[in-house]
C-alpha cells in the first residue's frame, strides 16, 4: 500500500481545486433540507413516530449523499481518469491497484462524512434536529452504506467506457432511487407497485437502515437492509475486480 497516504492527499487537494465536482454531493442535500424543511417545518407529528419532518428526513438525505457519491461522483471520476489516460500513467508506476482504489474510497468516505456533518449541523441550527438513536450505531450504519455504494460505484466505473456514459447512467439511477427509495416522498405514500419496485433498489435499504437507526431501532429490526447492503458491497467488489480495466 505504498503511496496510499500521498495519493489520498493529492486527490483531496484536486477536489478542493475543483469544488464544482463536489457541489452536488455537499450542497444538494442542504438545498433539499431548506426547501422541504421550509415547507413542512419540524413540528413533532404522529405521522413521523412523534418526530418532525426534518428529524425524519435528515437520515434519508444522508443516504442520498452516499447515493450521489457512489452512483455519480466515484464512477465519473474513475471513468474520467481512465478516459484521459491518467490511470495508464498511474499503472506505469509500481503502484498496486488496491492503493489506487483505497485512495478513492478514503477520499469519497471523507467527502460523504463531510456532507453528512454539514447537513446535521445545518438541520440542528435551523430546525433543532432531534437524534433519538445511538450516534455510534448511526455512524456505523452510515459507514456500511458508504462502502456498499462506493463498491457499486466501482462496478459502474468498470462498465462505463467514458465519463459521460458514467455520468448519464449514474444520474439516471440516482434520480430513480431518490424518488422511489422513500428519501424524498415517504414510502407509505407510494402506490404498492412503486413500493415493490423500490424494494429492489439498494438506496431504499440505505434509507430504511439509517432512518431506523436514527429513531433508535436496533440492527435486528433491519436485517434485510443489512443483508442487501452487504450483498451489494460484496457482489460489486467481486464483479468490479473482474471487470475493472485500467484503459
Amino acid at each position: 500500500m505504498r503511496g496510499l497516504g500521498k495519493l489520498t492527499k493529492t486527490e483531496l487537494k484536486l477536489f478542493l481545486r475543483e469544488p464544482e465536482a463536489v457541489f452536488f454531493m455537499l450542497v444538494f442535500p442542504l438545498l433539499l433540507l431548506f426547501v422541504f424543511g421550509g415547507i413542512w417545518g419540524n413540528e413533532p407529528s404522529p405521522y413521523f413516530h412523534g418526530l418532525g419532518f426534518v428529524d425524519w428526513s435528515t437520515p434519508a438525505y444522508m443516504a442520498l449523499i452516499v447515493g450521489i457519491a457512489g452512483l455519480v461522483g466515484l464512477p465519473v471520476t474513475v471513468a474520467g481518469y481512465r478516459e484521459r489516460k491518467i490511470l495508464r500513467r498511474l499503472r506505469a508506476a509500481p503502484v498496486s491497484p488496491l492503493t489506487v482504489l483505497g485512495a478513492w474510497v478514503l477520499v469519497y468516505a471523507a467527502l460523504t462524512t463531510l456532507g453528512a456533518l454539514l447537513l446535521i449541523v445545518a438541520a440542528k441550527l435551523a430546525y433543532g434536529l432531534r437524534v433519538p438513536g445511538d450516534p455510534l450505531k448511526i455512524a456505523l450504519g452510515f459507514g456500511l452504506c458508504t462502502l456498499s455504494f462506493l463498491a457499486f460505484g466501482f462496478l459502474l466505473a468498470s462498465v462505463s467506457r467514458t465519463a459521460r456514459v458514467a455520468n448519464i447512467t449514474g444520474l439516471a439511477l440516482f434520480f430513480l432511487m431518490m424518488f422511489l427509495s422513500g428519501a424524498t416522498v415517504p414510502k407509505q405514500e407510494l402506490p404498492e407497485t412503486m413500493q415493490r419496485l423500490g424494494a429492489w433498489l439498494p438506496l431504499t435499504h440505505a434509507v430504511e437502515l439509517l432512518q431506523g437507526l436514527w429513531l433508535g431501532e436496533g440492527w435486528g429490526e433491519h436485517a434485510t437492509a443489512l443483508l442487501v447492503l452487504s450483498g451489494v458491497l460484496i457482489g460489486s467488489a467481486a464483479l468490479s475486480a473482474k471487470l475493472f480495466r485500467w484503459e
Binding site: G5, E18, R84, I86, R89, A92, A93
Partner: protein, 320 residues
C-alpha cells in the same frame, strides 16, 4: 558507444519468439532480440508495426500470447511491479490531472517507489528544464513541457533501464534536439535506453543499434551504419562539369561512357553540365571520376549522397 564490445556487455532485455495478437491481427509475430547494458536501442517501424505493443510487453503492461521475455532477469508480466520499481517508462499516451502542479506530480510519484531509489525532484526538473515551471498546473504546460515532465517522471526512480515510446513526436526541432542531447547525457551516465521512433534522423543520431519492425516482424537488426552498408543501396553522385566540357555532344558521349563504368546503374544528364550517376559499391566515386579524367573532362564540383537509414527503411519495408 558504437565501438562497445558486445562480449563485455550484458543483455538487460532478452526477447524470444514474442507474439501478441489482437483478435485475428498479429501485432507482434515471433519477435526475438536482445538489448545490451548501456546502449541506446531503437525500435523503428511504420505505424502499426508493433513497436508500442512490444515495448508494453517489456514493461509488463501487456501480456504476451507467446514467447519469453526477461527484463533485468525478471518476467515483466508476473513480476511487473518489482520490475517497474527498477525501470523508467514514458508512455506514448498518458496524462495527469490538469489541476495538479508540476512539483506535486513528482512528489506523488516519489511515494510509489522505494525511498532509496528516488532521485532529487528539483534536480530532475532542472535537468529537463522545468524548474522555473515547478508551481504551474500541468494543464497549463505546453506539449513539449508536458513531454519533459513525463521524462522527469520516468527518471524519478533512477532507473537502470528506460523505455521511451515516441518521445519526440510532437516536439519542435529545437525541442527534439534538446531531448537528443539529454538522452546522450543519460547514456553517458550508464542508463540503458530503449526507444521507439519513426524519425530516421533520430535513430541514426542516437541509436547504437536499431531493430526495424514491419507488420510485427523483425526485418533488420544492426548498427545504423552497418545496415546502410549491408543493403548496398544505390548511392547518388552529383557532378557539375566545367563550361568548356558541357556541350551537348560531349555530354551525350559521356553518358554512354559512364554507363559502362563498373557499378554504375544509371546516368542522368541535366542542363548546364550537371550529371547524376546512380550506382553501388565503395569504388563508385573513384571509378566515375577516373573515367572522366581519362577523357580530359574538367569537373567543377562533385557531391556524394550517403544513403540514409530512411533509404534502408524504405527498401526493407517495401520488399517485406
Amino acid at each position: 558507444m558504437a565501438g562497445r564490445a558486445r562480449s563485455q556487455a550484458q543483455a538487460v532485455v532478452r526477447v524470444e519468439g514474442l507474439t501478441k495478437r489482437y483478435g485475428s491481427v498479429r501485432a507482434v509475430d515471433g519477435l526475438s532480440f536482445e538489448v545490451y547494458e548501456g546502449e541506446i536501442f531503437g525500435l523503428l517501424g511504420p505505424n502499426g508495426a508493433g513497436k508500442t505493443t512490444t515495448v508494453e510487453c517489456l514493461e509488463g503492461l501487456r501480456k504476451p500470447d507467446q514467447g519469453s521475455i526477461r527484463v533485468l532477469e525478471l518476467d515483466p508480466w508476473t513480476q511487473g511491479r518489482t520490475l517497474r520499481e527498477r525501470i523508467g517508462l514514458q508512455l506514448q499516451e498518458a496524462a495527469l490531472p490538469d489541476r495538479l502542479k508540476v512539483w506535486e506530480a513528482l512528489d506523488l510519484f516519489s511515494a510509489f517507489y522505494p525511498k532509496a531509489r528516488v532521485a532529487d525532484g528539483e534536480e530532475l526538473l532542472a535537468r529537463v528544464g522545468l524548474l522555473e515551471h515547478r508551481d504551474r498546473y500541468i494543464g497549463k504546460l505546453s506539449g513539449g513541457q508536458k513531454q519533459r515532465l513525463f521524462v522527469a517522471l520516468a527518471l524519478l526512480n533512477t532507473p537502470e533501464l528506460v523505455f521511451l515510446d515516441e518521445l519526440t513526436t510532437g516536439l519542435d526541432p529545437q525541442g527534439r534536439r534538446a531531448m537528443w542531447r539529454f538522452l546522450e547525457e543519460l547514456r553517458a551516465r550508464g542508463t540503458t535506453i530503449v526507444l521507439t521512433t519513426h524519425y530516421m534522423e533520430e535513430a541514426e543520431r542516437l541509436c547504437d543499434r536499431v531493430a526495424i519492425l514491419n507488420q510485427g516482424r523483425l526485418v533488420a537488426l544492426d548498427r545504423p551504419e552497418r545496415l546502410v552498408e549491408r543493403l548496398a543501396i544505390n548511392r547518388r553522385l552529383d557532378l557539375e562539369l566545367a563550361e568548356a566540357s558541357a556541350s551537348e555532344a560531349t555530354l551525350n558521349a559521356l553518358q554512354s561512357d559512364l554507363e559502362r563504368v563498373p557499378g554504375v546503374r544509371r546516368v542522368e544528364v541535366g542542363p548546364d553540365g550537371r550529371i547524376s550517376v546512380y550506382g553501388r559499391g565503395e569504388r563508385l566515386a573513384v571509378d566515375v571520376l577516373g573515367a572522366l579524367l581519362d577523357r580530359g573532362v574538367r569537373v567543377e564540383r562533385f557531391q556524394m549522397e550517403r544513403p540514409s537509414l530512411e533509404d534502408v527503411f524504405l527498401a526493407l519495408t517495401e520488399e517485406a
